[in-house]
């Protein structure tokens, strides 16, 4: 075995099951690494004591010969958007500093049932609003490939911790790209499943019609194992998809008809939307993505030209719908029952104003204002309703594409990770950079980021794969085949060997 921190979920699971290593050993080792790399800013709360306790109990059960779940003893950590019992749940906001939830999110409890050992809570943009993790009230996260750059966001803590080999995998959430974009910026693998695959119970809501949980890990294989454990129907979420539990690992390994060992993707039609390759796409990203697509061709896939004509419109559509929902979802943070309350106020209105002004950061306030505006009387039809219509048309465009191809591919983001602070004065520039991840979010489709190579400054570039509804298995199979043939996903940033 190589050093423990280089092992992924699947390998660790096997090593643990065969008792080559104990969960306590793995957890202790990673806790040491996390301490050593505190400067990355990945963890908001480290739960060392409880993690070791859980690991010890799993080791004991294994020693007694109990049959355990395949992930038993594997360490992970949760994006601090998921609420957890017995640990703070902040959503990266001062508003919830010190808040403790009386219950666990469904994703958290399912992973615990599968035997995963949670080491704590991971940094993220405040209420998952952002694409650089610079909007966290508790400080930025640094990209392990270049600590002067952002790791992406909003699941920046999750992505950076996995990339830095502090964890084999972590949970994340994706509303407009918050799993895929940080996975791309940090050189790891992440999947946002179809809307409804993972329960939203216990996820601090940003935009309810878009929020989805998913794993960030080092490989498609690891993502498949985690996704199988964290997904499934939940009666506490009315938007949860009613279908039987899925074995994504088996789906990933199922052979395509007509496939062979050298051409595992024979017959797979990959659609390339011409709008995903605009002139403005950074040259390094374009070249890396095209090279990866050539590798897919080598694996037997065929590339097909398709069109998603409303790709650009997905930006205004998203930045109307998501803030609209957010403005309402964040209404509960009023200082009355929990969360931040101003120390001094003269009356009720003053308490609301001061508590919210002090508790929310600038990006959250910006989105609350946008959302309140687009829902207000006289503007609703022109903005919100219009955006909803376009959202349906964007979903129709995908439906049209999937008559011509099996998966859609393109870049995750127009550039590699930018420098910390580079977009401080221009929030709109950051919004525009979401262009390739927003369409799948608006349509509710599964999307994935797969390490495809390296661009400017040696920074990772991710390839995005988008599947039809509930076609996670197809995405994972394509990504897995690519990862069997390449080693981009296995590269380790310097200093984190």
């Amino acid at each position: 075995m190589t050093a423990l921190h280089h092992e992924g979920v699947a390998a660790l699971g096997r090593a643990l099951a065969s008792r080559q290593v104990s969960s306590v050993e793995v957890v202790s080792h990673l806790l040491g690494r996390i301490e050593a790399h505190r400067a990355l800013g990945t963890f908001l709360h480290l739960d060392a004591g409880r993690a070791l306790e859980v690991a010890r109990s799993i080791d004991e059960r294994r020693a007694r010969g109990e049959s355990l779940a395949p992930l038993a003893g594997v360490p992970i950590a949760h994006k601090d958007i998921f609420v957890t019992k017995g640990a703070p749940s902040t959503a990266g906001s001062k508003m919830l500093a010190g808040y403790e939830s009386p219950f666990d999110a469904t994703v958290v409890s399912r992973l615990a049932q599968a035997g995963c050992v949670s080491l704590g809570k991971l940094n993220c943009d405040e209420f998952a609003m952002g694409s650089s993790n610079e909007n966290s009230a508790f400080g930025p996260v640094r990209n392990p490939w270049d600590t002067g750059r952002v790791p992406g966001g909003s699941s920046g803590g999750s992505a950076a911790a996995v990339a830095a080999r502090l964890l084999p995998a972590a949970t994340g959430t994706d509303t407009g790209g918050s799993i895929r974009q940080p996975a791309s910026f940090s050189g790891i693998t992440g999947i946002k499943p179809t809307y409804g695959v993972c329960s939203r119970w216990g996820m601090v809501a940003f935009a309810s019609s878009l929020d989805q949980a998913g794993p960030l890990a080092r490989s498609a294989e690891d993502c498949a194992l985690l996704l199988s454990a964290m997904s499934g129907f939940d009666e506490r979420d009315a938007t949860s998809a009613q279908r039987p539990p899925q074995d994504f690992d088996a789906q990933m390994r199922a052979r395509r008809t007509g496939a062979s060992a050298s051409k595992p993707l024979a017959g797979l039609r990959i659609g390339l939307p011409r709008e995903f390759f605009p002139a403005a796409l950074a040259a390094d990203v374009g070249a890396t993505v095209r090279a990866a697509l050539a590798a897919f061709e080598g694996l037997g896939a065929t590339l097909v030209d398709v069109s998603l004509p409303r790709t650009e419109l997905s930006i205004p559509v998203y930045y109307i719908i998501a803030p609209a929902e957010a403005s309402s979802n964040l209404g509960r943070f009023d200082g009355v029952r929990y969360g931040h309350r101003a120390a001094k106020y003269v009356d009720l209105l003053d308490m609301y104003k001061k508590s919210r002004a002090e508790g929310f950061g600038p990006e959250v306030k910006r989105r609350i204002m946008i959302g309140t505006y687009v829902l207000s009387h006289g503007y609703y039809d022109a903005y919100y309703l219009q955006a909803q219509k376009l959202r349906r048309m964007i979903a129709d465009d995908f439906r049209q594409c999937f008559t011509q191809c099996d998966v859609i591919a393109g870049p995750v983001a127009p550039t590699v990770a930018w420098k910390l602070g580079a977009q401080d004065d221009d929030p709109v520039a950051a919004y525009l950079a979401d262009i390739f991840t927003l369409p799948a979010s608006l349509a509710g489709l599964p999307g994935m980021s797969v390490p495809a190579g390296f661009g400017e400054g040696g920074m990772p570039v991710g390839l995005q794969l988008i599947g039809n509804y509930f076609a996670e298995g197809e995405l994972l199979r394509a990504a897995h085949a690519f990862q069997q043939a390449t080693d981009f996903h296995a590269r380790v940033p310097e200093g984190f060997q």
């Binding site: 019609s209 609209a324 403005s327 509960r332 943070f333 829902l375 207000s376």
Partner: protein, 482 residues
């Protein structure tokens, strides 16, 4: 009956909130029971803790469907939950989940009567929504307390068209609506506890003029307050207009102590609620099978039941409508009728003796100390001549005051059994005729009063046990025509 008030026509529409009788809340599993210690019936969803989500309670939907069927409305095959956004400390999420553009119940009518005047009030809609919590301004020293037990309680908001033209019509409508929801068992109808409350939209206009500007009186939780509030408001509006002042659209509160309405907020302060479809809840889809299932589980409606009582029991239309004034009344009637086989007598007793006592003591039929089976036993004894009507009233008194529940036992104990033995009766009649020659003479001379005296003597001689009808008959037979 659009009687004008000082030359003005009154226009009223009501918005009624009926709390639905589900055991748990509309979007959470917490109990809806009234009266628990503050905040003991509020779960994580009701408190709007981060990460919580609403899940629709199907029982609330079923109740809405049944209401819609009862008022002849359209049950929307697809309706949408929307968020009504505003800040208030007893509104935990910062929004109320309601229905806005597409409600579950659309249209429908309610028939009302004020005296002899009948009319049909049209319903606009009825929609499902959640209640807010309560702000306790008086009970917490110098601060406002928040009790979230009520937060998330299911409500059906029933909106009428502005079809009512007097406070009496408004009250008749509210009473009819109240009867309907209680009859269906979808609401307990308890107005003191706020389970059924009305907002009244009131305006006045000169006959033939367009609608005047309305003011909305909020939260009227008794029929009396509803009437008083509208009456005051109408006078207030007419005073304004007569003084040449405009009416401004406003929300007003009624103060039961002063009997006055006072503006709470004007249109300028009106909230922009920023309604939009709730992304946490998929559209409410009601398949025809669901409607049919709800229909099957509904009790027979009062109109159909009254028609049946007329047809099968031979009741008059008036009696039949009285027997269906509430489901409890109808059930009482049916049980007593089945036990006695005397529909008309049962109806008379229910409208007479029983109602009189209930009204005097301000009790509900449910609290009646006389069970319907007991009343049936008594009525059966009246019908078979065992006891006279006046004797039966004495027995009823005894039953009411809890002296016992055995009708025959009470008749015997009180010596109220009528003498129905013809031989014994003839003997008494003969003795009375012999002993009262003067009265007999007078009767034969054509003095009707004398006959009554003879009947009285028979009753006296029998110690009240003679059947007066039988006594008269025998006397007439023996004395011959006067």
């Amino acid at each position: 009956m659009s009687a004008l008030v000082r030359g003005y026509e009154v226009v009223i529409g009501l918005e009624t909130h009926a709390q639905l009788s589900t055991a748990s809340k509309i979007f959470s599993g917490a109990s809806t029971a009234f009266g628990a210690a503050p905040n003991t019936q509020a779960c994580a969803v009701d408190l709007a803790l981060p990460g919580t989500l609403p899940v629709m309670n199907r029982g609330a939907v079923e109740r809405a469907i049944q209401f819609g069927l009862a008022v002849g409305a359209k049950i929307a095959p697809l309706s949408i939950f929307a968020r009504k956004n505003y800040f208030y400390p007893d509104l935990p999420k910062g929004y109320q989940i309601s229905q806005y553009e597409i409600p579950v119940v659309q249209g429908g009518t309610v028939d009302i009567a004020v005296g002899e005047h009948r009319k049909t009030v049209r319903l606009t809609r009825a929609h499902l929504e959640e209640d807010a919590g309560k702000s306790l301004h008086e009970e917490v020293h110098g601060m406002t307390g928040i009790d979230l037990n009520r937060a998330g309680t299911p409500l059906l908001e029933i909106v009428s068209e502005p079809d009512m033209r007097s406070s009496a019509e408004a009250v008749a409508y509210a009473r009819e609506l109240h009867k309907t929801v209680v009859w269906l068992g979808i609401c307990d109808g308890n107005m003191q506890e706020g389970s059924f409350r009305c907002d009244a939209n009131v305006s006045v206009r000169k006959p033939g003029a367009p609608f005047g500007t309305r003011r909305e009186i909020k939260n009227l939780n008794s029929f009396k307050f509803l009437q008083q509030a509208i009456d005051f408001e109408v006078q207030w509006q007419i005073d304004r207009l007569e003084d040449g002042l405009p009416i401004e659209q406003a929300t007003v509160l009624f103060n039961p102590d002063s009997g006055e309405t006072r503006a709470m907020r004007s249109k300028e302060d009106a909230h922009d609620y920023r309604y939009f479809p709730d992304p946490d809840l998929p559209p409410l889809v009601i398949a025809p099978e669901w409607v049919e299932r709800a229909r099957r589980e509904m009790p027979e409606l009062p109109g159909a039941m009254a028609a049946r009582f007329e047809r099968d029991d031979g009741l008059s239309a008036y009696d039949a409508s009285m027997m269906t004034q509430s489901l409890a009344f109808a059930r009482y009637y049916e049980t007593a009728r089945d036990g006695s086989k005397q529909p008309k007598l049962v109806a008379n007793w229910l409208m007479g003796e029983l109602s009189k006592r209930l009204n005097t003591q301000g009790r509900d039929l449910g609290d009646s100390p006389v069970a319907p089976t007991t009343l049936a036993a008594l009525i059966a004894r009246v019908a078979d001549g065992t006891v006279s009507n006046s004797g039966a009233r004495q027995v009823f008194d005894a039953l009411w005051s809890g002296e016992g529940t055995d009708v025959d036992g009470l008749i015997a104990a009180k010596g109220l059994k009528q003498l129905n033995d013809t031989g014994a009766m003839e003997k008494i009649v003969d003795e009375v005729i012999a002993a009262n020659a003067k009265s007999v003479e007078e009767y034969r001379a054509g003095k009707g009063k004398a006959f009554n005296a003879l009947v009285g003597q028979v009753m006296k001689a029998s110690k009240g046990q003679a059947n007066p009808a039988q006594a008269s008959e025998l006397l007439k037979k023996k004395l011959g025509a006067p």
